[in-house]
């Protein structure tokens, strides 16, 4: 057993209002996994899952009940296959109730990127990076420099 593997199997987002949070992600086109429960909404990603969970319960589960948990310093990104696809993904998130932080624009690093927040302030970057290849399933493998 070689430890640890560089991987993330579950991303948990603490949310203030489960119905609102589900409404955003499912309005964005995500499909809730049937293993979801009343207080836990699960979404299958590529080799990992994303969970929506009450923010208060998440703080308690972390061993610090009552703590004010913050957002923004950890960003999730979807890299897309083209500028047009990035525009479409971004627009679909805003239509679903996301808040624009920064509209998509050309970036100094040669790509195209914008940021939005979900209803709980969790930050998503939507980007197209011509130097970062995606496979047909949208998996990213970093290129040799």
């Amino acid at each position: 057993m070689s430890l640890p593997m560089q991987r993330v199997t579950l991303i948990t987002l603490g949310v203030a209002d489960m119905e609102r949070a589900r409404g955003f992600y499912e309005g964005w086109g995500w499909r809730r996994h049937p293993a979801s429960m009343d207080g836990l909404s699960l979404y299958q990603l590529h080799g990992q899952a994303l969970a929506l969970f009450s923010r208060g319960e998440l703080a308690a589960d972390q061993g610090r009940p009552g703590a004010e948990l913050g957002t923004g310093a950890m960003t999730l990104a979807q890299n897309c296959g083209s500028e047009a696809e990035a525009d479409a993904v971004f627009d679909s998130a805003i239509k679903a109730g996301g808040t624009v932080l920064k509209r998509l624009e050309r970036a100094f690093w040669g790509g195209y990127s914008g940021y939005l927040a979900d209803p709980d302030g969790h930050v998503w970057e939507i980007a197209f990076n011509p130097g970062w290849p995606l496979d047909a399933d949208g998996n990213l493998t970093l290129p040799a420099p």
Copy 2:
């Protein structure tokens, strides 16, 4: 083109001190990808990458320079193949400079879980969930309920 796919291609952690943050993740056994640059440390995960990036630059990139970005409400988890493996992964993170939030303990949902924070306050859960199968590479596929 069906939009959007349920996936995360990049997880970015905003850090106050790049050397300290690299020291934690590489002390935990992670290998920096050669595409990394001075202000951007990249790690290849399964079908996605994790980046360490200056917290101030991340706020500016999000279109809100000077904003205080918070942590804790988004948790990354590593699910392990056994309680012993979860113990070993947790201990290796603490030895690398992580802070214990909650030591591993049996959970009401039938598994075994603990939480730690990296030097910038980003929260990791280390867990063993006997109901969540992992493949040989450590990828998670949610089970049918």
